[in-house]
Symmetry: C3
Subunit: 344 residues, 3 copies
């Protein structure tokens, strides 16, 4: 499907500079531009690629001032990055979607399935589960008894959702995610072995949540593990029993939150972070990658680093000195020598 620069500019309410009939049928990064593709330039660090790109059309910011000649046709818009993202959304929305319920899916008679649902081969829906309108479920998904899936949610292949858990509307759950597995709850016996504490709670995932591939979210011991509206979790993340993650918090890959910790809203948690159990993390907190949080963070918008973590600027000053410990040691030894001379 070809689009001209003119048509794209019209859609974006932008202006064309160059050939208004230049045609594109695909998108590319500006540094990997090919003829017939559309790119964008937003970050000034990439400006140099604009002068050599093979892309036919490039979206730029309204006020961009080129320093050299440009082969590509330009489309000037208010915000090049947002405009490009809007086009990608349009492209996604117009892609043909999977639809219909495969004859090879297995749906319990007591389950309720909404309108316009896609259900792939070998997907299983157990008793009394309720699947909302417009849900897409790829092959080999497992939906346990009494699970509820909200309208418009996409569940990729190989996801397992244990009984009784609830997923909101317009969520995206990537392949291999496990929701509702037992929390890690064991009581030690006198003879050094462990007795399992039955985990009778559930997981509740609110609307507009995205969960990355192979992440795991455990059910509560009692009550609910809760992922609030708009949370975005990357791949291979662990959310333990009775955790609550606040609205619009984002967590990068391979991080984990231990049992019963409450994380605030609008937090940004880096990759490979660990937060121990039974803590509270305030709203808008940022945690640097690989940090280990061992105490509650009560101040909104705190920024922390380290294991155990503390204020990021302070951490970084300490770390600079850590790197200079050999010099510091020399400085001390030199002082010792001088003092020793003075005391003789």
């Amino acid at each position: 499907m070809d689009f001209t620069a003119n048509i794209i500019a019209e859609f974006l309410k932008g202006t064309v500079e160059g050939d208004p009939e230049a045609k594109v049928s695909d998108v590319s990064k500006i540094e990997e531009g090919r003829p017939g593709t559309l790119s964008f330039l937003a970050n000034p660090k990439y400006e140099k690629f604009l002068y050599e790109t093979q892309s036919s059309v490039v979206i730029v910011n309204k006020d961009f001032q080129p320093q050299q000649e440009i082969g590509a046709t330009l489309i000037r818009v208010e915000n090049a990055y947002e405009a490009f993202a809007d086009l990608l959304h349009l492209y996604e929305q117009n892609k043909p979607k999977k639809n219909g319920i495969s004859k090879l899916a297995s749906i319990a008679e007591t389950a309720e399935v909404g309108e316009n649902v896609y259900m792939g081969e070998f997907t299983v829906v157990h008793e009394h589960a309720r699947i909302g309108d417009g849900v897409l479920m790829y092959p080999q998904v497992y939906i346990g008894d009494n699970v509820k899936i909200g309208a418009g949610t996409i569940i990729h292949s190989g996801v397992s959702i244990y009984e009784g858990c609830e997923i909101g509307a317009h969520c995206v759950i990537h392949s291999g995610v496990v929701i509702g597995s037992d929390g890690f709850g064991f009581a030690p016996n006198q003879d050094n072995n462990y007795k399992k504490i039955p985990q009778v709670g559930v997981v509740i995932i609110e609307d507009h949540v995205e969960i990355g591939a192979n992440s795991t979210i455990d059910r509560a011991t009692m009550g609910s593990t809760i992922i609030r509206k708009g949370v975005k979790l990357d791949n291979l993340i662990q959310i333990a029993h009775n955790v609550e993650v606040g609205e619009n918090t984002v967590m990068a890959a391979q991080s984990g939150i231990a049992g019963s910790t409450i994380v605030g809203k609008n937090c940004m948690i880096g990759g490979q972070v660990g937060v121990i159990g039974h803590l509270t993390v305030a709203d808008g907190v940022k945690i640097a990658a690989q940090s280990g949080v061992t105490k509650s963070i009560r101040e909104d918008k705190a920024v922390v680093q380290g294991t155990p973590s503390f204020e990021l600027g302070h951490y970084q000053r300490c770390y600079v000195l850590f790197r200079n410990l050999p010099d510091l040691k020399n400085q001390i030894n030199e002082l010792e020598r001088k003092v020793s001379e003075l005391t003789q």
Copy 2:
């Protein structure tokens, strides 16, 4: 199903204080109590919730002395936490269990399947596998050739067990777990690429082991990777080839043990810990979260922290000084100034 305070007290050999006919049909945490639910109070930190809870019945320790008036009916027992756990077990045991073998499961003719087995839709059992009595296998499980599953073990949806591995009795394997994948064994060639070392060993998992969602346990190069009786592994854990994890050791989420390391019994390993290969860790060792163990730990009940890890108390003293390095640097500079004055 309703129970009265009286009936519960009888089962627990406890005494009722308040309305013996108070009815409950569900459980709740004391801080989230609702009418018609049963809660417990064991940790004194939660005592304040007892005076405001909406729970109808609360289990407390025999010697508990209330400081205010209480709306709920109390049941006094020897150990409130254990009594509550016993009730949860009773509740679990009485829940209807999945049963029967789905017509949509695929079982090789040479496989042996015991009595009272549940096998969900699209589960696959390959040649000569042996499934013990009372095993529950949820949908979409894969059991390779010659695998053996002990009696009463529960295998959740989407688990993969490669050929030749053995799982003991009364284990719980959560969704997405992979058992018996190839160990990471490659020999470098002269031209910088790697030749795979075939991994011809297996994995042996003894009785009463629980393995958390999406954990991975690699088969041995030769011989066996062994998870001993009573071990509890949390989610997203990596156990490499030829590792042995000793009896009743517990590991928190996202930890990993590298190849050929032998971990003792009754150890407690925190989250996101790494232990490098070819080490020995003694019995009863505790490893703090996010630590990296790079040398064998030969002393029983050692407690370590850090990367590389050393004795925990020592680590924590060092870390306090790390946090104070800016002050320490100022102290040294001040000394230098004074000594410089003295030597002029």
Copy 3:
């Protein structure tokens, strides 16, 4: 199947010392040797086991000089480890392989499937996918639209490959791996929530790559996430969108590479390492386990450690001093006392 020491020696071009008719039917580690098994001795640390092993035949290096009497028959070869690995390969190649396409697999009419393919039960191949000759696909694999799998590749049970991704020839993909899930791309809105950036790129995996169980490789935002020829990834690894991992680089378990980072060839990355986004890592770089790389590494063959990481030898000197901070603090306090005396 029994082999005599003589036949094995002939295959390996080695010489027999002891009973040329000694028979073996299995392999074992020298420290776990059983009658009827073949072992090898390469690492001098294991020499003591040679004098007590029950293995019937042991392969040793040509120039090995025993210090005691040995019960086993020896086969002397140029390189005992390589010779043994060659035998394991022979053993693997001669094992009966799975073959044929299960009637319970589901293959779209528009998909192309090569010769001599194995496809297990409940595996799904969607529209226009192309499966090369000799591919082995275990049960419950999901292959999305337009995916291409190269000849001779092995895909274990429960793998998910999203639409449009390409896997090379002679790769091994272990169970639970997810390839082509959406990159973690979200643009913040003014009201603190996030708008998804559609991820329209793909993943390209070149030939001879091995990917460990439950690892995740995200598709590019645009263009391709690329895993070059000969790369070996261990279990539970995260590769983010638009990352490129260079030829023959190896990564140990639970490591992660954030978005758009380019890793060179022949690198060795330890377990639980994190590399942040938009960096470049030169060729032949080694990164110690649990390190966090926060700046590009431009020097070939650099060796780094720490979070943030820097040169390994320097890091280790700093860490020794970190462990001695309590002594250093005492040294400083003692100096302060002396200087204070001098200034009075």
